[in-house]
C-alpha cells in the first residue's frame, strides 16, 4: 500500500508518564508490521515527522490538567475519526487526580517555591469529561496485547474484543491459586477490570486495581472482605485512591468508607 492509501494513526499525550504510548514501541514483534498497514502520522515520542491530520485513529494518553490541554483535546477530537483513550490517566484521570481531594494551591506550594508561575487546573479529568470517546482502553499501563487488538479491530472495522469482567476470571484462566482464599492476602481482583492477565496474584501479591473498576463491582459485599483480611479504613481508602482514584466506582467506595 502506498502512504496515501493507508489509514492514518496519531498518538497524543496529555498529563501522563509516557508509559502507555511507549507500549506501542514495546510491540517489538508487531511494530514494523503495524507500520506497513497504518501510516503513523503523528507520534512525537517516536518521530519528528508531523501531519496536521485528519486522522483515522487517534490514541490519546494522559489526563486534562491545564486550561491549554482542555482546549487541545477539542482540537484532537475535531481532527480524529475515531478517538481511543489509552490508559488510566486518559480513562480515569490517573494518579494525578489525587489532587481532586486536595487544595491545589497547597499542593503547588509543596513542590514549587513560586506557585504563581504554574498554570494548572484544580482537577485532573479523563478525556471523556471533555469530548466524545469511541473506546477506552484500561490499565496503568495498558496491556500490549490489548493495544494491538484495538488497532487491529479498527483496521478491520470491528469493535475491540476487550472483556470488562474482573481480574478473578483471568486468575482462573491462568490457573493461579486465589491469594485471598489461600493466604488471606487482601486483593482488589474481584472489583478490578481484567486486562493485565492477573499479574499480581501470579507474583504472590494482591491486585492493586491498576486497570480500574470492572463492569460489575459490588463494594458493599467486597469491603467487608478487605476488613476481614486485616485492612482498616485508612488502608482501604489508600488502596482505592491510587491510579484510578477518580474512576466513579472507586471514588464512591472510598468516600463511603471515609463517611462511616
Amino acid at each position: 500500500m502506498t502512504a496515501s492509501d493507508r489509514p492514518k494513526l496519531a498518538v497524543w499525550k496529555f498529563a501522563s508518564c509516557d508509559g502507555c504510548q511507549l507500549t506501542l514501541l514495546d510491540c517489538e514483534d508487531e511494530l514494523l508490521g503495524i507500520a506497513e498497514r497504518i501510516e503513523i502520522s503523528h507520534f512525537l515520542e517516536a518521530s519528528s515527522a508531523t501531519d496536521p491530520g485528519p486522522f483515522d485513529l487517534s490514541l490519546v494518553e494522559g489526563s486534562v490538567t491545564t486550561p491549554q490541554d482542555a482546549e487541545r483535546i477539542q482540537h484532537v477530537r475535531a481532527v480524529s475519526k475515531r478517538l481511543v483513550t489509552i490508559g488510566a490517566c486518559a480513562t480515569a484521570g490517573g494518579v494525578q487526580a489525587l489532587r481532586n481531594y486536595a487544595d491545589v494551591a497547597e499542593f503547588q506550594a509543596v513542590v514549587y517555591a513560586r506557585p504563581d508561575y504554574i498554570d494548572t487546573l484544580a482537577t485532573s479529568t479523563p478525556i471523556s469529561a471533555h469530548v466524545a470517546v469511541d473506546f477506552e482502553l484500561r490499565g496503568c499501563p495498558i496491556d500490549r496485547g490489548q493495544l494491538v487488538e484495538v488497532i487491529t479491530a479498527y483496521l478491520a472495522g470491528r469493535r475491540p474484543d476487550v472483556p470488562a469482567h474482573s481480574v478473578c476470571f483471568e486468575c482462573k484462566q491462568r490457573g493461579t491459586t486465589c491469594v485471598t482464599v489461600a493466604h488471606g492476602t487482601p486483593c482488589l481482583g474481584p472489583v478490578t477490570h481484567a486486562g493485565c492477565g492477573a499479574l499480581c496474584p501470579a507474583y504472590g501479591r494482591g491486585c492493586y486495581g491498576c486497570f480500574g473498576p470492572s463492569d460489575s463491582t459490588n463494594f458493599p459485599s467486597f469491603i467487608p472482605l478487605l476488613r476481614r483480611d486485616g485492612m482498616d479504613t485508612l488502608d482501604i481508602v489508600r488502596v482505592l485512591r491510587t491510579f484510578n482514584t477518580a474512576a466513579p466506582e472507586f471514588d464512591d467506595a472510598s468516600r463511603k468508607e471515609l463517611d462511616q
Partner: protein, 459 residues
C-alpha cells in the same frame, strides 16, 4: 539572504524525547545571548500527594512518574525507605535488583540509541522511516529492546510499571530454572549489542565538548547502577583543559545524606521542572558522567568495544566529553548491562525468602540509583507508624537542564561562527543538542517549541 539580523524561529513540539518542552534562543550578531529549555509538562504534584501515604506505597506510586524508567523510581524509593527504616538489602536479593535494573538500562538505552537518537545521524524523521532503508539495524534494535524487556517482564511481571518490587526485596523470586532460558537469550543479545556499538561508532560526530561538572554514583569495583556514593568530576576548564578534552580529572565524593546540601533545586519562571546546581555550579548526570566516573569498571568485552569504537581506555584516564558521542557510550552501556545480567544469572541462587522485613520507624532516609538518564535521588521522612510526612524527588533531567542549555549555547555559537545556517538547519542542530542527553521530561515535572530571536546588531 543573510540570517544575521533579527528573527524568530518556531519549532513545534520537540520529537523523539520523552515529554513536552520548548526552546527559546536569543541570537544577537552571531552570539547566543540566551538559551532556555522550557518545560511545559503539566505538573503532577507527586511530592505533595505522597504526604500521608504509607511508607510501603512510594515504590509503586513513584514508578508512575516515568513509563520509561519505572524501575529506577521503584529502586530509588526502596533504597530511601529502607535507609529510613535502618534496613539493608544485600546478597542475592540485591543481585536480583541489579538484574532488574540491567533490564531497564537495556530497554531504555536501546530505545534511545536505535529509535530516538540514530535517526538524527542518518537524516530520518524516525525509526519507521529508518526501517525502510536500514531494516536490519532497526530490527536489531527491537531485538535488543526485547531482551531488556524480557528481564523486566520475568522479574517484574511486565515491562512498564512492574508489579513485583517491594520494600525489602520482591513479592516473589524466580527459580534457577526460570532464569536459565533468559541467560541464553541474553547471550545472543550480547552479539547484537556488540554490533550496535560498531554501527553507531561509524556515525559522523560534530566536534563538541561539555564544560560541566559530571555527577554519578561511584562504587569501586563495579559500574555503579543501583547503589553507590555520589562522585563529582570537575569541569575541564577548571583545570585549564578545553571543553572537549578527553582527560579524566580527580574525583571527589560526598555522603548521600548530604545530597540536599550539594544539589540545590530552584524554580525558574519558564519551566514546570525545578532546575538544580551542584555546589553552586552547572552539572551533568547520565551516560557521559557514569562513563567518566565508573568507566574503568566496565566488563572486559564492554571495555574492548569502547576502545574499538574510538572512546579510548577509561582505565588510562580517558573520558568522553562530546555529547554527540553519548550514543556510542549508551551502546557500550547496553553491552555492559547484558554482560552483567548474564553474570548475575550464572551466579544466582535463590534467597531463602523473597524479601527481608522492613519495620516502620520514625526517621528520614535517602536513596539514589543510576536511572538510564542519570542520578535519581529520593528522600522520605516517616513518622513512627510509617506515614510519609515529607518526600523529595530529584530526577536526572531536572539536574541536566542547565547543562543542556549551556550545550545549546555553545553548539549554536560554534555553528554561527562557521557560517550562516538557515532556520531549518539551526533548529535541527538544537534538537540534536537536546536529544544528546535523552531528556526525560515527564520525570522533570513536557514540549519543544523552538523560538530563536535574533538581535539587529549583526545585520
Amino acid at each position: 539572504m543573510t540570517h544575521r539580523g533579527s528573527r524568530v524561529l518556531h519549532v513545534g513540539s520537540l520529537a523523539r524525547v520523552e515529554g513536552e518542552s520548548a526552546l527559546h534562543l536569543l541570537v544577537d550578531g552571531g552570539e547566543v545571548t540566551e538559551a532556555r529549555l522550557a518545560i511545559y509538562e503539566p505538573p503532577r504534584f507527586f511530592e505533595a500527594f505522597l504526604r500521608g501515604r504509607s511508607y510501603t506505597e512510594p515504590p509503586d506510586i513513584t514508578s508512575r512518574i516515568c513509563g520509561i524508567c519505572p524501575v529506577a523510581y521503584q529502586l530509588s524509593a526502596c533504597r530511601a525507605l529502607e535507609d529510613a527504616c535502618g534496613v539493608t538489602v544485600d546478597g542475592q536479593l540485591a543481585a536480583l535488583r541489579r538484574l532488574l535494573y540491567c533490564g531497564e538500562w537495556i530497554e531504555s538505552q536501546t530505545l534511545h540509541v536505535h529509535l530516538l537518537h540514530a535517526p538524527d545521524f542518518l537524516g530520518c524523521a524516525g525509526a519507521v522511516e529508518l526501517a525502510r532503508t536500514r531494516r536490519a539495524d532497526v530490527e536489531r534494535g527491537l531485538r535488543l529492546k526485547q531482551a531488556g524487556n524480557a528481564i523486566v517482564e520475568l522479574l517484574g511481571g511486565r515491562a512498564i510499571h512492574p508489579v513485583n518490587v517491594r520494600l525489602g526485596g520482591f513479592h516473589r523470586i524466580p527459580s534457577v530454572a526460570e532464569l536459565r532460558p533468559l541467560a541464553e537469550k541474553l547471550r545472543r543479545a550480547r552479539d547484537d549489542a556488540q554490533e550496535t556499538v560498531r554501527w553507531v561508532a561509524g556515525f559522523e560526530f560534530p566536534d563538541a565538548g561539555c564544560d560541566h561538572d559530571l555527577l554519578a554514583l561511584a562504587e569501586p569495583g563495579t559500574y555503579a547502577i543501583e547503589s553507590g556514593t555520589p562522585a563529582v568530576m570537575p569541569a575541564p576548564t577548571t583545570a585549564g583543559l578545553p571543553a572537549g578534552s578527553d582527560r579524566a580529572l580527580p574525583i571527589r565524593t560526598f555522603e548521600l545524606h548530604t545530597f540536599g546540601g550539594h544539589v540545590v533545586e530552584r524554580q525558574v519562571p519558564h519551566s514546570t521542572a525545578l532546575h538544580s546546581r551542584l555546589d553552586g555550579r552547572r552539572h551533568l548526570t547520565g551516560t557521559l558522567a557514569r562513563y567518566a566516573i565508573s568507566g574503568r569498571w566496565l566488563s572486559p568485552i564492554a571495555l574492548q568495544a569502547a576502545q574499538d569504537a574510538g572512546l579510548g581506555d577509561p582505565r588510562q584516564g580517558t573520558v568522553c566529553r562530546n555529547p554527540f558521542r553519548s550514543i556510542v557510550v549508551r551502546a557500550v552501556e547496553v553491552l555492559h548491562a547484558l554482560d552483567e545480567a548474564v553474570r548475575i544469572i550464572d551466579a544466582y541462587e535463590p534467597a531463602p525468602r523473597p524479601y527481608v522485613d522492613v519495620p516502620a520507624r520514625a526517621g528520614t532516609g535517602h536513596g539514589a540509583t543510576e536511572a538510564p538518564r542519570g542520578l535519581l535521588y529520593h528522600r522520605y521522612t516517616l513518622d513512627e507508624d510509617g506515614t510519609v510526612t515529607d518526600a523529595v524527588l530529584v530526577p536526572p533531567t531536572a539536574q541536566n537542564q542547565g547543562a543542556i542549555e549551556e550545550d545549546l549555547r555553545r553548539i549554536v555559537r560554534d555553528r554561527l561562527r562557521a557560517g550562516d545556517p538557515g532556520d531549518a538547519e539551526l533548529t535541527a542542530l538544537c534538537e540534536r543538542a537536546i536529544r544528546n542527553h535523552d531528556p526525560c521530561i515527564s520525570c522533570s515535572a513536557h514540549f519543544l517549541d523552538l523560538t530563536v530571536e535574533r538581535g539587529e546588531s549583526g545585520s
